[in-house]
Assembly symmetry: C3
């Protein structure tokens, strides 16, 4: 149940060509992505999805979240600004997505220090296994620790420090787990792959991590291989960030250029520039 038990591969566990094919499929099929996400990043997330070729939809009420989840290509549940009102919509969306065979993605924002959402995250995971869990290292560590406090939850944890936790979560829920950071680490409990692209300015723009969760949900709509979906989405954002950083004067121009780069980045260029390990 730890990283040492993962067999060595010849080359990365996910190929660059396969990841690029996933992005090409998103562009050609424009999957509907139902986002139950936080109010801080909703606009940026929708623009990221539109730039990548997906079709965002955001419905927050318990009365409607189920109906949309049943027909969505993928569903994102992001806990950022969850309240009791939107928590109920999330419960309905996860249940209905699972019932209809639609993949859902959990972004466990700030799980760990905040007990109420930590319980909610676990409740949702137990109600129906997600396709992917995407978070930072601290969130993944907290989600795995079972509330026993056995592991420190520090936002400065590096992704690699959360690999064992990610493998354990992946095996427990039969899902992929994407640990985002300077170098993203992804696993499905069996395979491990790392995305060695990106740029530091991603940390200075709100919603880059959250919109990655939405891109992951878009990719789960076009492939049943959850690790491949999460890798493709992580790679797309990270390579687009490298392009956007060229000539950006700061996080304002970078955020704008990132949307442009997501729109213009061809699958061929992604296959070329993606650095998987």
């Amino acid at each position: 149940m730890d990283a040492a038990s993962i067999p060595a591969h010849n080359g990365p566990a996910v190929s660059r060509a396969a990841a690029a094919d996933v992005i090409a499929s998103v562009r050609s099929s424009a999957p509907l992505v139902h986002c139950l996400t936080n109010v801080v990043v909703s606009q940026f997330t929708a623009n990221v999805l539109l730039a990548a070729g997906a079709a965002p939809a955001m419905v927050h009420s318990a009365q409607e979240a189920g109906a949309l989840a049943r027909v969505a290509g993928g569903v994102l549940v992001n806990l950022g600004t969850v309240t009791s009102v939107t928590a109920e919509a999330m419960r309905v969306a996860v249940k209905e997505a699972a019932g209809a065979g639609r993949p859902w993605v959990l972004d466990p924002v700030a799980v760990g220090p905040l007990p109420w959402r930590t319980d909610l995250a676990r409740e949702l995971l137990e109600s129906a296994p997600p396709a992917v869990i995407r978070g930072n290292a601290s969130e993944i560590l907290a989600l795995d620790s079972g509330g026993t406090g056995g592991r420190g939850v520090d936002s400065t944890d590096a992704p690699e420090a959360a690999l064992d936790a990610a493998i354990a979560l992946g095996r427990r829920y039969g899902c992929a787990v994407a640990v985002s950071g300077p170098e993203d680490v992804l696993t499905d409990g069996t395979r491990v792959v790392r995305v060695a692209n990106g740029h530091l300015l991603l940390q200075r723009v709100t919603g880059t991590g959250c919109s990655l969760g939405a891109l992951v949900a878009a990719c789960t709509a076009v492939t049943g291989d959850a690790l491949l979906a999460a890798t493709a989405a992580s790679g797309l954002l990270a390579v687009a960030a490298e392009i956007a950083a060229t000539g950006s004067a700061g996080p304002g121009t970078f955020a704008v250029a990132l949307i442009d780069a997501l729109y213009e980045l061809s699958p061929d260029r992604l296959a070329r520039d993606l650095n998987l390990r």
Copy 2:
């Protein structure tokens, strides 16, 4: 009750000069526009209104929505992320706006496939007729069909396909109906006008349609001719989009340039570039 019954005009039903005058009035009088809109597009909508010279205000609670609606120049009700909490604020706002003689605009986002909001939209329309309904073709078709399912609700419907539905709604509620798309089609049940400006990048930025609803509300504050108001707003956004697309590298830079273009576009240039049919 259909398009064929609309008499032919000499020239478009709304003149370019009249539309430009409406925009000039918005700039000079800075009407207060009370927006009950969705959380995805709130920031962009406020910036669009500010750039056009209007004064946005967004209040979401049932305790306050009525007080603001009574003093607003125009009220926008957009159903994008409506919940039971904000639905109650919408009911109050529409009632109080109507009581005070203030125009209100309905943007029936995603009406059709989602029954709860479809019922809410009809309830609001029955409680007090709006000045304008603004939606895409699928939403207008769904709103008119009465839930009988007699018409397909497909987001790929072209505006022209919704003209009969728009005319029917316009006559039923005594309002103007703006069907947005590559070429906007607008009617008040008697007159029909089309705005043949715009740019495809509008579809790749979240909130362009929703902020058009807010611009329509701003224009209803300065003219009692609802069709003229809706045409002026649609024309302003569409011509600004043409300007913004020049030199934009993608949807990120386009969205920024669109705000600049709305701010800089003079009524004289609008009167010159507007293509009404």
Copy 3:
């Protein structure tokens, strides 16, 4: 209790060097700023804080707002789109922040014409004194008038017209009061200082005032002198706006350039360009 009772100083009540030191401390310590703010400006506010070097966190539920407030460097309560759900979270956050000795900042958006939030603002102020109140002149006048209607609440009030009200509020609650406008006027009931920087385009971008409230909260995390904190934040935003306006074609490009300027503005340059009176 009025401006005439404030003794004259040799030079401004806050020094430019001290203000620049506060901004340097924010950059080096990256304080966690818990924002209970409105949905229109959440994204922009988070990006402003990130650009300035602070760490934004936005949690809206009564179940969690207290836990975050206890560990935050500073807490912002902005009433823009408050509902009964978020009002409860605000009550909890203010109580827990006060109990843990954490400074909190009130942004009384639209207090005055809207009685429900005006009562809420007063309830919060009475429950625990804030470090800073930041608003426009009309809001400060309304907050001080006690609901007696003795003073007109007009959004065209100049900051100087609200100075007596600001001094009264500062003395009543033992806090600093920042009245934002073309020239910001700040007081703690004893000292008065004015920030004579800024640019008119700030008024054409939504959230510039609201994000100033968040910057003030960030600065209260690094200094116990609330007037100094409010002055440093006001000066940072105003000088950054002057930089951003250079070469901006309109409010769209200005908003983007403002984020870049906040990111790049060095404390040394701030100390040089800040115009305090």
